[in-house]
Symmetry: C2
Subunit: 350 residues, 2 copies
């Protein structure tokens, strides 16, 4: 199951309310992040389903013809989205294992991912656990959650998760790096569908009630009826993440530590690591004229051009009706622009 | 006569081969530079004609309905353009004085210009001279030509021009400022139409031959026939500027020194002086979000937005399919982009 929900502000103006990050051609060779995720998932499993918002279903289907899509009637965060996928999978095969992958991340080590996913499926198949993949941190990142384990693991073993740690401050994050007992929570996890549904029933009864109605409709009257029930029940359903609602409270969460060259493509600056740089340190998507300029991240739409002269360490992005220019080191602050657009009532640009 | 020829590279990407600088809404309040020039000219004279290239005639007429336009079949520099206007004016009134104004400059002191123009018309009417307006230089500018006079003039008197000086180096330009005997050549001048045509006949006989044919057609068969002759003769006509071909060699050139808040809008950086700045030193045309950023020149098309965070002293311009970003101090180098577009065969952007 590929989780392709949400709309991003961190890659504005390429990502908009109506155009999610995973459908942007930001992977190597102009592949979309979602397309790359589907391709990687298929190296480990046969059945891949994309769960996405109804208003992005058409664009998603157009970008990935032939891939099964489960459209949610309204965005209600990941507990309900994952529960919905679990309901459908359990209906087909009650003993099946569900693997959850975010749609908008980059992974450089694809063979490593394939073997790690295969191992995680095997763990979740044999034990009543939720098996996560934890990325060994390479810097004291304050933008991610961490998975705490009891002992530093050197090989590709499986360790119990002792705690979920919210985004830390930089001092705390630095102690995590030094200690070797914390891993980045990359949002990838694996569990039997019936284990997921049982955990939701125990920990999120209101969410479970919605899912039970959908499951009953699916069982008794089929997929169309299930979609109709979902459309009716989603608007009033609780909005809570699977991490907060289930993972942090359930028992039997384990983790496989891994490297993998993982990158959440969380800002324009991250594209440097995903796409690499030219001899002057520039990362370029689209037509660009770059004179006396280095270490910039430049992106523009097909059929348009960006020219830069004598500037360094900037992000310069043009997408649709908008342009953004800011230092690479402040790339996260793009969201301030989106906030400001809303404040001014310029939502046409957000 | 307003000289609205040529296509600029210095304000790329707003100015393009097919969209000249004078039609851009760069004056205060979104007025075009050409519109402002016409409005100013009319404060001093009744009859205003715009001489422009045939392929810009429609856009010019649309921008300035009701203004007479004389369209040139091909660009052949200013000697022929001014000669053509002189032919048409002399046909209507053999003793009339022609005033030539560039279409794409900014002038802050409009009452001062009106009185200076009126004075220049009076000088050219009473004496067989070419009367220019010389701008008192405010900095050692190396991008302009200078008019040298014999004595520093303090009031609004008229002085003979001793020499035309080509664009000087910065050391020479500094001595000009110190000496007080050099004025910027702003391309504005006034002379009887028959004096202009006589000078062209004496100094540029090939150009005069073309003009004689057009004049004969105009006299004998009317304006349509004159346009047909022009269309036939222009392609093979010599291309030379009025400054080089006539002004530098003729006798009786005089100058009225003036201030006027003149600006040739020769780069994006110049817009700072034309439009002023906000409290943070930014000059903005169009919708912009500016956060922690100062002393930038930002321009974007209507219905589009530019967002900048944490950058200073930059030019950021989006126009049509192109964006340019460079330091304000290097704004002149925009032409390097245009050269590079040509070198790459990306003429669609130039």
């Amino acid at each position: 199951m590929i989780l392709a929900g949400g709309s991003g502000t961190r890659l504005w103006p390429a990502s908009r309310r109506a155009r999610a990050k995973q459908l942007l051609p930001l992977a190597k060779g102009g592949e979309t992040l979602l397309g790359a995720t589907v391709r990687r998932a298929r190296t480990a499993v046969e059945d891949v389903v994309i769960v996405t918002a109804r208003d992005q279903a058409d664009a998603t289907a157009a970008a990935l013809p032939g891939v099964e899509i489960l459209a949610e009637p309204a965005p209600r965060n990941t507990a309900l989205a994952i529960g919905l996928a679990a309901v459908h999978l359990a209906h087909r095969d009650p003993g099946a294992v569900l693997g959850v992958l975010p749609a908008d991340h980059h992974i450089a080590d694809e063979p490593g991912l394939t073997s790690t996913i295969s191992r995680a499926f095997a763990v979740a198949e044999s034990d009543p656990v939720i098996c996560t993949i934890g990325i060994r941190p390479t810097r004291p990142e304050t933008g991610f959650g961490y998975l705490e384990i009891d002992v530093a693991i050197k090989d590709a073993g499986v360790a119990p998760v002792k705690a979920f740690v919210e985004k830390p401050d930089v001092a705390t994050a630095s102690t995590f790096i030094a200690g070797g007992k914390h891993l980045w929570n990359a949002g990838m996890f694996f569990a039997r569908a019936d284990k997921i549904l049982a955990d939701i029933k125990r920990l999120l009864p209101d969410t479970a009630a919605v899912l039970d109605d959908i499951a009953a409709a699916l069982r008794d009257r089929g997929a169309v009826a299930a979609a109709e029930v979902a459309a009716k029940r989603y608007p009033a359903a609780p909005s809570i993440s699977f991490d907060h609602g289930v993972m942090e409270h359930t028992t039997g969460v384990v983790v496989i530590p891994a490297d993998l060259g993982w990158n959440d493509v969380g800002s324009w600056a991250a594209l440097r690591d995903v796409l690499g740089t030219d001899a002057e340190g520039n990362t370029v998507i689209g037509d660009a004229i770059v004179l006396d300029a280095g270490n910039n991240v430049i992106a523009t739409d097909p059929g348009t051009v960006v020219a830069v002269i004598g500037v360094n360490d900037l992000v310069v992005v043009r997408s649709g009706d908008a342009v953004v220019v800011l230092p690479r080191s402040r790339a996260q602050e793009v969201r301030r622009v989106v906030d400001e657009l809303t404040r001014r009532g310029w939502d046409r640009y957000s």
